[in-house]
């Protein structure tokens, strides 16, 4: 009996190998002989096989860093850049949560650290770039520190700006370090880890991962195969900070922005598409159906890339519309969000190219142009004549129009 089972379960795998050998590349709709669950729930012998606690920890850490800047700003207190550095590296017990302090996880070593781009150097990546990006985020801590304490922001002077009920800290060039950090890290850490690391076949199929998954050899002391776990880790960087069952459901970072893009009918069923692809891919891994897994990877990479692109265009246009208000200061928050999302475009992964939709050089050129006015964002006349061009450039690259992105309808 056992013998038979083995032969049967190994048959589809063998069939795949035969397919991968053949020169004939006609595509055919796969007939899935396994079920895709309606929620991201996977079990083995009655116990969950899902674990992405490390991703949840990092999401909460970034959240705490954002809150640290915001809360200090709210009371005109000094933002401690050393504390932010400690939070970035998780040293010296910087978090209120003991669980985070003792998690062994940190953000900085997973920033610009994906296998495809920063180990195998696909997409123009290098260790020098990694080092520069990490230093850039550290510089945002310094900028937040310099802007804090209560001095009012003005052209060329870092300080605070009372934006309705919020107090926002602006660097001398008008950029808001808090937003550059949060949106930039969504790209440099979370996006990079999702699409260039955990959804990379170089990682999923590394070493004996595929054989072990096929034979359901579990990780030592765990209820999952290595490949199952890697897939969950990609999932966790999107959904790991959510609490959808709370009275007021909360969604953090990418999950939240997926919802915001999804709310715009111009982008169809983005949220459902991404969730379905994650569930299908995970079920495919359980069923040893690697062709279906790989098809889902392509879907997720393509759909995830749309999120920062659409939001970047949205915030650029929102910022432009606010340039006339309060000498432009009203626009800086949106423009800073846009700045961070534009940074994120460098970490997208265009399926089949092992490269981002927009290169590092292209992204840097856009960011440079955005801040090239006199005293950066303070030059509202300069921005007024440059923003549309930048928005159009981004929208065109990702296959949508500025009009589609700028209004959520």
């Amino acid at each position: 009996m056992k013998f038979k089972n083995v032969l049967l379960t190994s048959l589809p795998v063998m069939a795949l190998f035969v397919v991968s050998c053949s020169e004939d590349d006609t595509t055919q709709e796969p007939q899935l002989n396994y079920t895709i669950p309606t929620t991201y729930t996977f079990e083995r012998t009655g116990t969950t096989t899902i674990d992405y606690s490390g991703q949840t920890s990092r999401i909460l850490m970034l959240d705490a860093m954002g809150a640290e800047i915001k809360n200090q700003a709210a009371i005109n207190a000094i933002v401690d850049d050393t504390k932010l550095s400690d939070m970035f590296a998780n040293v010296n017990n910087p978090f209120t949560s003991t669980e985070l302090n003792t998690s062994g996880k940190k953000l900085n070593d997973k920033t610009a650290a994906s296998r495809d781009f920063f180990v195998n150097f696909g997409g123009g990546g290098s260790t020098l770039e990694q080092s520069d990006v990490r230093a850039f985020f550290e510089s945002q801590f310094d900028d937040a520190n310099a802007a804090s304490g209560g001095v009012l922001a003005s052209a060329g002077v870092a300080g605070v700006y009372e934006d309705g009920s919020s107090k926002r800290l602006f660097a001398a060039n008008g950029l808001e370090p808090q937003q550059v950090l949060l949106k930039g890290m969504m790209g440099a850490c979370f996006m990079d880890q999702i699409v260039n690391n955990y959804l990379s076949t170089a990682v999923l199929d590394e070493g004996s991962n595929r054989d072990n998954n096929t034979n359901k050899v579990l990780e030592s002391g765990k209820n999952y195969t290595k490949m199952e776990h890697l897939w969950d880790e990609a999932y966790g960087y999107i959904y790991g900070g959510d609490n959808p069952s709370a009275t007021t459901p909360t969604y953090k970072f990418w999950s939240s922005y997926i919802n915001q893009v999804d709310a715009d009918s111009d982008f169809g069923t983005l949220r459902e598409d991404i969730e379905l692809a994650f569930r299908t891919g995970r079920a495919a891994i359980v069923a040893n159906d690697y062709a279906t897994r790989d098809a889902q990877i392509a879907i997720i990479k393509q759909k995830m890339a749309l999120v920062p692109a659409v939001r970047a265009v949205f915030y650029l246009k929102e910022g432009k519309a606010k340039l006339v208000t309060e000498s432009g200061k009203k626009a800086f928050h949106a423009l800073s969000e846009g700045y961070g999302f534009i940074m994120s475009l460098r970490y997208t992964n265009k399926p089949g190219t092992n490269a981002p939709y927009m290169s590092k050089a292209e992204v840097d050129a856009i960011l440079d142009e955005l801040t090239a006015g006199t005293n950066g964002l303070w030059d509202v006349d300069y921005l007024n004549s440059h923003i549309d061009g930048l928005a159009t450039q981004i929208a065109a690259r990702f296959g949508f129009t500025v009009a589609q992105a700028e209004t959520v309808n």
């Binding site: 940190k106 180990v119 260790t127 020098l128 230093a135 590394e206 070493g207 054989d211 890697l230």
Partner: protein, 371 residues
């Protein structure tokens, strides 16, 4: 049972995938693995170890002369012999297979930074067993570095440890024992290769995971990745510590001006092995370069072997921009260290992502960087 059946299935399919399975040779791709292994053993590995053995013998002789009557002149002679042996070591660090694997050759010869507290404790007690794992970081070239370069601020102060120090006898004994330990291992490895191991190594000419070619390629790439790229450049430059640099973790820290020399020797040794180049001769024979060319492995329209050798040239150019002292380089401009690391990493990518799949050799070690 399950696994065996599946393995058979996989093997059969992989074989069916390969482009040329016309030979009756042991590797399945027509390349003569016996000739490859013979060239590696006779023209590269054994001569490299014999050269290393010679240099270790000289070092031992110089240390014997120094300990007999310690002078600053003799200390300098020891230093010269130490540098020469350390350079020769870079050519054999690659071959941790057979006896070298059995004795943990690399670990007990070149763990750095060395454990100075442990060394001083050993000297104070006068009893230690170098074959224990817990003693690996208190011996080898880094320990010798401390003993001949790091004990005092200048040569007179160092020599004083071997003359006027209250424990001078033990310092001399420790220095002597360090050299003896290097010699014991060098002799054992050379004897094993010249004894039965050569034929064992060459005879394992198949393409299983435990065959000599598969294992040697893994060991070669792993040495390049872990000991050369990471150990000599990446770790001190802070690549694995989120930017926190470690100027004290450079190779040859106490001598301090030989890190670059040792790195270049190690890169050269790796390139020579890749090219199948005979040790200390211009001639080349079967090697990874020839193997890739036999299989016509091309990447982006260029032979992979050419890409890899071009990359070695780029590596040497990046290394040339570094200070002889990596500690100094890290202080003054660490970005040059990172740039050198990047160039070294490119060949890790070519080896692991391009060369090994082309040779149908699975990477048998995995980076432990998950969470």
């Amino acid at each position: 049972m399950k696994k065996i059946l599946l393995l058979i299935g996989f093997t059969a399919l992989f074989a069916a995938c390969s482009s040329s399975d016309n030979g009756s040779d042991s590797s399945g791709d027509g390349y003569d693995r016996t000739a490859l292994l013979t060239n590696w053993a006779d023209n590269i590995i054994i001569p490299s170890f014999e050269n290393y053995q010679t240099k270790v013998n000289t070092l031992q002789t110089e240390i014997a002369a120094f300990t007999a009557a310690p002078t600053e002149t003799d200390l300098q002679e020891v230093r010269t012999a130490w540098v020469e042996a350390y350079k020769a070591f870079q050519y054999v660090s690659i071959y941790e297979i057979g006896k070298a694997e059995e004795v943990n050759f690399v670990s007990c010869t070149n763990i750095y930074p060395t454990n100075t507290t442990g060394i001083e404790a050993n000297i104070a007690s006068g009893t230690y067993n170098f074959s224990l794992i817990s003693q690996f970081d208190k011996q080898g070239f880094p320990a010798l570095d401390y003993m001949i370069n790091g004990l005092g601020a200048d040569d007179a102060a160092i020599v004083a440890f071997y003359t006027s120090n209250g424990n001078a006898t033990n310092y001399k004994q420790y220095l002597t024992d360090l050299a003896a330990r290097l010699k014991t291992n060098a002799d054992a490895i050379v004897n094993d290769w010249n004894g039965s191991y050569r034929s064992t190594f060459i005879g394992s000419n198949g393409n299983s995971v435990s065959s000599s070619v598969n294992r040697m390629v893994n060991i070669f790439v792993k040495n390049y990745e872990k000991n050369v790229r990471a150990g000599k450049v990446g770790i001190p430059a802070g690549i694995f510590s989120s930017g926190t640099t470690y100027p004290n973790k450079v190779e040859g820290y106490y001598k301090n001006d030989i890190s670059k020399v040792l790195l270049n020797e190690a890169v050269k040794a790796s390139q020579d092995f890749f090219n199948g180049k005979h040790f200390n001769a211009a001639e080349t024979g079967p090697g990874l370069k020839a193997y890739l060319e036999y299989l016509n492995v091309v990447k982006s329209g260029q032979p992979l072997s050419t890409i890899i050798n071009n990359q070695f040239t780029t590596i040497f150019n990046a290394n040339a921009l570094l200070n002889d002292s990596f500690s100094q380089q890290i202080f003054t401009d660490n970005s040059k260290m990172i740039a050198a690391y990047d160039q070294l990493q490119w060949n890790v990518v070519y080896f692991k992502a391009d060369m090994m799949p082309a040779l149908n050799i699975t990477v048998d070690y995995v980076d432990a960087d998950g969470d």
